[in-house]
Amino acid sequence: MSSTISVNNVNRIYSDAEGNKVNALYNVDLDIRPGEFISIIGPSGCGKTTLLRLIAGLDKPQSGELTIDGSRINDVSPERGYVFQQGGLFPWLNVENNIAYGLKARKVYKKNKDKISRYISMVGLDGFEKSYPHQISGGMAQRVAIARALINEPKALLLDEPMGALDSFTRADLQDKILELWKENGITMILVTHDIDEAIYLSDRIVIMTPRPGKISKIIDVDLPRPRHRGGSEFLSMRKSILEHFELAQAQPQPEYMI
């Protein structure tokens, strides 16, 4: 069902409006195990989205290589589902048709029609089949986006801050939903987040990135038993050590163009 994704010595350089080079990813190495739940955290601009887009096949590195089960990632694939930071739904399609989009695009709609209602229930959106994206809440929209990606039965699901715009209650709900879906579907999850608690609560491993140049500065194993308790002492000490790691990174001398 799931698969190994590896990122080998990848560099991605952008040039900004003034023509300056921005090293969005610098010598990034990462191996993601099948069925693993991995979180990528780090401050804004450290290259989290860039890395996720490369894994998805939406973008290509200048050097280095990304592979899935040993074969090179050259293009997008329904095997790697993607949930955008925000606004990824098609506004002209209702919830049902947004979720059905992948089936229709891959021309397997007729055979799998009955899957749609199952996936709608799976993300708890019964009764909203006919609603349009602007008529539902941000949290519901992200759940639609997740169901839309999962209906293609991907090997990996890439989530770019799917909870970034949500209040803390909706956020906690959606986190539990994502965990549940992960357990049910046994797929690899790669989650980008700003939120340390979220990363600890959900992941097997946490990848910490730092900006300018964007690189992986540490990978932490979270070997806490599930279900995890956000107030537990181990949880809090892990949180503290991650925070300390960031402070350490902050304290290091920065290039002069840092704000």
Partner: protein, 363 residues
Amino acid sequence: MNGQIALKGSLRNSAEKEKPTAEKKAKWGYRHNGYYALKALLTISGFVAAIIINIVFPQKAAVEFKTYVINALGLSVTLNINDAYIFVLVALILIFTGAGIVSLKDKEKRKKFCKAAAFRFALGIALAVWDIGGTKLQVFAQPFFPGPAQVIEAYLADGEYVVQNTLYSLRLYAAGFSSGVLLGVGTGILIGWFPKVYYWVFPILKITGVVPAVAWMPFALTLLPNSFTAAVFLIVICAWFQIAFLTAQGIQSTPKQNYEAARILGSSQLGLIFNVAIPHAMPDIFTGISSANAMAFTTLVMSEMLGQPGGLGYYINQSKVWSAYYKVLAAIVIMAVLFSLINYLIGRIRKRALRWQEGVLKK
């Protein structure tokens, strides 16, 4: 568990308590039956007043009230033009009464009907004033401003001929506008999607698009086999440019993320055009269609006036030669009704196609 049951019980109780009172005493407004009846009365009272004035007000000016024999539906009716005017008023009263009854059950329609009441009343009064000024006293300059009875006379005198010309206009419009829409949307998609097409075709579109379509008339009339195809051609180009322009814009403004999402979900290149770019461009396509529609009316009437063997524009021209201004007015009334109907139809189609936008945009 207990608490839940108790809560449900209390909810039901309060709902039962409120319901009967809410039904008995609808607030004074369009939901209230008395209010609705008053508005219905207001709606028809303008037209009733117009009838009363027509009957009671003395005929001062010397106007010849011709009588026509009408053969329709196997019946032969002899009708004086003033009676025909009264018939029209009665018909309006019946239509609005019917509308009032049909709207009775539907909340939204009820609201609309009440809202329209004052305007419909004013319409009746305006007809009465026109009747006095145009027919009874003839205070307006003649023959430029005939009364309502004379305008109706045009339909009685020229009935079949007016219908023929109206159908001619409709045929011209249908042929020209539908091909214009198809061509416009088609080229718009090509321009919006293929950068090469954009590079070569868009500048031509931009420059020729500002030229009013009728300017091409001399070429159209000489180069095309007959005047009908010439007029169709003019309507096509006037609709084409506008629609192509906006369609291309709608396609090009599709957010990159929509394409990316579709590609990841397994969409083919063709799928990106038909299931992403075109749906995204739909609002712009309809804006193009609406504004092209208004220009198509202008082009239609102008080309009819300048070189067609039929149509409402042709009828206007012909009537003007005989100084039959009441016929000119009659044709204008038909245009107003016909074009409004077409606009309404397009509006309905647009609303259906863009249902997904409902509530997003400010009304």
